[in-house]
Amino acid sequence: MNGLLQQDVNKETFTINLGPQHPATHGVLRVKLVMDGEYIVEAEPVLGYIHRMHEKMGENRTWAKFLPNCGRMDYLSAMSYNHGYVAAVERAAAIEVPERAEYLRVITVEMNRISSHLLWFGAFVLDLGGFTPLLYAFDDRELILDLLESVTGSRLTYCYFRFGGVYNDIDDAFIAGTREFIKRQRKRMPMYDALVTKNIILIKRLKEIGHISKDMAIRYGATGPVARGSGINYDVRKNEPYSVYPEFDFDVPVYEEGDSMARYMVRMDEIEQSMRIIEQALDKLPEGEIKPKKAIKLVKPEKGDYYHAVEAARGSFGVRLVSDGKNQAYRLKLRSPTYSNLSLYGEATKGMLLPDALALMGSLDLVIPEIDR
């Protein structure tokens, strides 16, 4: 605190639960906080309140039957999880994917990333106390959900990818709708910038709050916008190119400060980058097949284990599958980015004020079923 009121040591600490049912945790995460007045002495996240046994289901279902599960882990960027799982199985079983299908995958993944960042933006500012941006962000997000629903059939938990391609082709209405959405969103972003980003209250709440250093990101394995906010230029689409990403020119926003404001700015800039990718993908969309002639139901990768990582909205989502040649996974491990991003919460919030710890938790962009799997 300061010179005047020296902290007397033998004051008791107070333990409260930022419990499973709490508006700021956006799900069922529980954090056991040992508090000394307003200051956090020790914060320990407790997980498992929404553990839904995805990895156990991976072992007792065939490869194709596990597809619906992918959309239900991180339901905000479900398309990237579809992409991660399907690409891992394609790498294991050496399945070819036609060019047009790869483009459709990139378009839908990037649109899903924008809708995930928009929802994060609304929910994050809601945590800090501002209610109206949530309504604006959801309004834009509904447009994306309409477009994606017209192609995939569902609003949230997509199951759009198949082994070797995608389920449905896009029509001109989708392309026109997407271009219209991008034009409208480019006009909305300056408004969000003026309404929220330059708002002195938000700046005061986020600047120099929740510092995550590069070394901490290495020791905890934080990836995605959390790492890019601390000056680490790591984006799986650039560092580990997969699908047709090398053909698009987009840049990866990286901020050096490592505080909550930096992570906020990274995600706001990424919305613009995703729109650039979608536009280029729509311009260069090739004609051709979108899925193999005969639908692949029997997938038999040879023995051994395979790993594939994709850039989900929250970081590098990796799928490690161990196959023993059968039509079923022997072991399916899903490396979820928020699991590692959250593991640094205990060290990052030592000695912090409680409201700042909530700002830090919001800036980590948590989706709890992805952590608990």
């Binding site: 605190m1 409260i16 419990g19």
Partner: protein, 133 residues
């Protein structure tokens, strides 16, 4: 003919009763109209709300003096406003300057406490560093 003072007393009593009724009324209505008791499974109805899990430890602990200071400052200014009411009533338009100066002096002396606390840095909430326990 009811003398003037009794009438005034009646006014005060009426206001007092009205205030009391406004305060206690909702409790009475709620008590009368709401069902008594609630369905429960593990009868934790009376338990303190802690996001659905058991509260850990006791809430009645000793904590930093600073939070008490805030209460003190609020109390000082609350009473300060209380004293300004009569001044506002008896604000004499002819000698307005005199009354205004009195108010400024009165409020000024009280806000000295705030200035002292400000200089001493009570309002700065930096991050503290705890040696890991």
């Amino acid at each position: 003919m009811v003398q003037q003072p009794i009438l005034d007393h009646l006014y005060v009593a009426a206001f007092f009763l009205g205030g009391l009724l406004m305060a206690v009324g909702p409790f009475i209505i709620a008590h009368l109209f709401s069902p008594r008791g609630t369905r429960n499974i593990t009868n934790k109805t009376q338990q303190a709300i802690e996001c659905g899990v058991e509260p850990i430890g006791d809430a009645w602990i000793r904590f930093g003096i600073v939070y008490y200071l805030y209460a003190l400052m609020f109390l000082a200014f609350d009473v300060d406003v209380l004293f300004l009411f009569p001044v506002a009533l008896a604000y004499d338009t002819t000698f307005a300057i005199r009354d205004f100066v009195e108010i400024v002096i009165f409020v000024g002396i009280l806000s000295l406490a705030i200035i002292y606390a400000w200089i001493k840095g009570v309002f700065k909430w930096e991050t503290k560093s705890y040696n890991p326990r």
